[in-house]
Symmetry: C4
């Protein structure tokens, strides 16, 4: 069971590298086994090209390392907070992919400018509030997770599978580690097209609610028609 | 006959991947045999790297599947509407290529800023009107095709081999599937250069009618001189 | 002699492809043997990946084809006008490379924003005037060459080895075909950095005359110190 | 000892090529052996793909060549000035990487817009003042080094491992040649994301001092927690 989880978490980590979202050791992916509550995550600061499934670090939902020789990703506490708050998700990726990071740095949510966006995010990609100095000086990584959870108070993390942490970078998630990676890749593409759109025509409004509904529910929910 | 059509449609689908216009399973290409009126199109949501010619789905002009085990692309009804309305075209591609999509999302037609554009598009690349809520909630995919056809009421689809669907992405076409793919690739390049041009000098006007004529008719029509 | 010229012209054509300046069959490179006055140039509309040295077309300085089965590039008359007017140059490339083309489309010369520019261009990269309707409807390709030559009335083509044709794209040249290709590649890089510079700070002025002198003469003329 | 230094300097030169920071022969990396005070640097104008460790040129801290058949990089005097003034550094890279160069050409320091920046640069990436005509006409390369050193009068080169030379391009450094290359690569990525941020939202302010402290000291100093 843990072997399979580690293998899938490794695959998600490699996917964000293959798709150009990662420079050096930046970024990390994790996955959770909801039966045991165990989380596997990339180790901290290890090069991707020599990493194996056995290097993935396994911890419980409170950050206690259960298996693994290496230190877990320094972002572990953020991942755990999201797993605790969003019971429907099974995988998370965090990257510093360039366009999503630019929107995060600019402190702007990404409006749903088109159907590519609407196919995956049912509304804007939200931005967290800035953390206070106290939150930064305290349990910063955990508090980053809490800021994300606060931002989702009135949002469904299944309908909006990602977020921009203000002044930092994106997190994306999904039902399993590979879908989380997939959402991270799609988010970067959406962010890139939204950048070109916003600079080409600063007054662009997002798509209509009707179009947002049509595209989102084409791929999600009981009436989805896309795919085989 | 159908084997050849499927092979050519596969090739066009692979060309848009090779040229970087496709992320994951986004995008699709189709072709029509005008003698039988049969259309071959990429299946829905299938990965490009394992796709074979036999996976292409064949339907008649009204969307009835004639051959193929898989579901056709969810955009089939748009393709069919274009084949019905534009008798001179033999292939269509739809992509979410990033710069053409940005212009579509910004709701701006692409002006003919230079001779690269004029070599392929005899005038601006047009944008459709937004679909109404009724059109979106009804036969949305078909209505997308109808919006394109309406936009071409006074345009020649052979002289303007592509369009931007507002808030969505481009469609391009040609005399056969590979030329449709070629036009899709050229459209993305034109869109990219036009983006840089418009942001560098927002007041740029398009080329003169004389230059548009000269370049377009250098490559098209009875007096074309380009190529062997 | 002609074999060597054709081989060098082929190499220059392949260099602009390898460096990402070419989409499909766009662009062309040529070279001249100043002893015989013979020019070798890429054939029109032929794919780069199957092209051989034997496909290069040889013409005299007045456009009469001397050797070669294929039609020469449709831009031949522009190349010939430059060879006639600029006796010091031995090779020319024409591309639609994206950033240089964007400046050409925007009708803006590229200011010498930094030392990368000053290392190769002793002053701005100039833009031609628009051609008149008569010039376009007449011998258009030749008139494009004449517009470039007019623009260089008070410029030294050895000190400024390239130009932007307004509403069209760049030409670059050098002492031989490979140096022409090299200047075409450097011009695209300069154009790209100048685009980012101009959009980041529209008020940016070019480098001082002192810096322009220092960098240009570090690599050019009797006192050059760069290289082995 | 010198063999190892040359090998490490070669590796740093190859790293900036692999990461896309180099066009043709632009850019150079060097390293110093602090025991002997000997510096190894890339030779001037030599292609990267045939370069060997034996081609690295070794000079003393005053520019006297000790070993090597080739002429050293034309930027040697800048490197030496930095080694003399910043005793803690062991390697330097100079590139014309496109986004860092754009900020240098625009004469703008790069604000710390996010945590990627804060992980490596403890404050803005500074820009030097313009050199005077006298400095340019005199010992220009040395004076470039002096301008950098002046800019760091109140800055710690270990906390800010790079600089933008106005109207020119970046220099980056580190404890050894490979870390210098790493900082050069990270600087380009930071510059790229900052470009997108600044053009997306020109009013963006940098991160708070608390966030800058938290991220910088996560990776640096006695209390660093990142990595294994």
């Amino acid at each position: 069971m843990l072997d399979e989880l580690r293998a899938r978490v490794l695959e998600a980590n490699l996917e964000i590298v293959r798709r150009g979202l990662v420079l050096y050791t930046f970024g990390n992916a994790s996955g959770i086994d909801r039966v045991t509550g165990l989380v596997a995550i990339k180790p901290s600061g290890v090069p991707y090209d020599t990493m194996t499934a056995a290097d993935m670090v396994v911890s419980d939902l409170h950050g206690k390392v259960i298996e693994g020789e290496l230190k877990p990703s320094s972002d572990l506490a953020t991942h755990l907070e999201l797993y605790r708050a969003f019971p429907a998700i099974g995988g998370i990726v965090h990257t510093h992919s360039e366009f999503a990071t630019a929107w995060a740095q600019a402190g702007r949510e990404i409006p749903p400018y088109g159907t590519t966006h609407a196919d995956y995010f049912y509304g804007p990609v939200p931005v967290t509030e800035d953390l206070s100095a106290e939150e930064i000086q305290g349990e910063y990584v955990l508090n980053t997770g809490k800021a994300i959870v606060r931002r989702f108070r009135n949002l469904d993390p299944e309908a909006v599978p990602g977020v921009l942490v203000a002044g930092h970078a994106p997190f994306a998630w999904g039902r399993d580690p590979m879908q989380a990676a997939y959402h991270g890749v799609v988010l970067e593409s959406i962010a890139r097209m939204a950048y070109y759109t916003a600079t080409l025509n600063p007054g662009t409004r997002g798509v209509s609610q009707a179009l947002l509904d049509r595209h989102y529910f084409r791929k999600h929910g009981a009436k989805a028609t896309y795919g085989q």
